[in-house]
Amino acid sequence: MGGSDPSGRLVRPFTLTGGRTRPSRADFTLITTVTAADPQPESAARPQPEHTRILRLCARPMAVAELAARLDLPVSVVVIMLCDLLEAGRITVRPPRSVTTPDPDLLQKVREGLGRL
């Protein structure tokens, strides 16, 4: 691991996957949010038809489970395609909020939102 600049982070396309060059299925939970990159990278190869469908659906942010339901495909299959899309720089990914120690502000926000229903 020699040669990395101690003062700055390595900025690579896969910072969201913890520095791995190959995204893994573990990066996509059911409620991980996926958004199509806009504009799409020009250099990338033409997306396959199923990939194009995904990109169209997540022109606005959409959770993995919702993508799978709308594509009528198993989550595990969609995740494999999302790995490819992430690798090609065609999507950005936002992991869900960590709730190991729930943030009181977050809980309050949920409560207020439910109160408005």
Partner: protein, 198 residues
Amino acid sequence: MAGSDTDARASADGDAPDTVKILIAGGFGVGKTTMVGSVSEIRPLRTEEPLTMAGLGVDDLDGVEEKRVTTVAMDFGRITVSDDLVLYLFGTPGQQRFWFMWNDLALGALGAVVLVDVRRPKSSFAAIDFFERRGIPFVVAVNGFHGEHPYPVEDIREALTLPAEVPVLLCDARERESSRDVLIALIDLLIAQAAAAS
């Protein structure tokens, strides 16, 4: 490309909302999807997962004897809490043989609602046991048959041997407000736990 009115490529994922989830669990046919549907802003969606892919390492395709494909279905809904926060509600698969799915589902959940059928309270034992063992906060919501509640909360608490700290509510999963109040009770429990822990 409807609605992409800003050019914010660099922060595209920053524009995505935060997401959290709550599980709706309970015995088969207890009204989980009904509850999800009554509060969700979208009609409940369904994902189906082939059992072998969901449960096992996928790479090993030797198991020819496992050719028979079974799928496990999950219904879920969504509530947009605010501009930047979306709550997902996942109905857990009710059949006992799909319990292993729950580990994946439970990962990262805020907490759970265990729905109880007033006519068959013990069919929700397994769900209660699951969340107790894993220390996942939950409330118990007794779904009345046609909205009727012949038994008081305390009788149900006793029948299910629930400790005093687990909230038990009567509800009608068909009613939006009733289901919403169950979710609020769970959030109140979480807020109380967070306050006690700090």
